[in-house]
Symmetry: C2
Subunit: 82 residues, 2 copies
């Protein structure tokens, strides 16, 4: 079994309105040391070992479902757990 | 400057309908090695050095804004970048 963590974030060039809104809330709390907040998606997957190579599986799932290739980029980490 | 990564996920006992829906899509793609998918939120923060201790700042932001304490749990990592 593999445990896979996927991090999906907006590409640098893309404005992140959600992150900006959260930063506003944080500043209104009086925490003005926060310079930037960017929000993304985080996925944890459990994948059984099989014939197919787990990396290509993860990339296919990211490319087709988890990330929007136009606006988002992703990175992932794979850990063998069993 | 600190770079902070925050990972917010549903508590184990909480059903994750979004994760279940994504798993269904992945299985319909023919990738049935995927046993479980859980979706969460991922945040990247840049925080200037200041008087307050950065860990307590991050926990205050998580407790009050980034995570819903009833349904979600969070973890974070802090890296000094400048």
């Amino acid at each position: 079994m593999y445990k896979v963590e996927v991090f999906v974030t907006y590409k640098e060039s893309i404005l992140d309105p959600q992150g900006e809104a959260i930063k506003g809330s944080v500043h209104r709390m009086g925490i003005d040391q926060v310079e930037e907040i960017r929000q993304g998606k985080y996925f944890e997957l459990k994948i059984k070992k099989g014939q197919s190579d787990v990396e290509s599986l993860v990339e296919e799932i990211c490319d087709k479902i988890l990330a929007n290739p136009v606006m988002e980029s992703y990175r992932y980490s794979i850990t063998e757990v069993e």
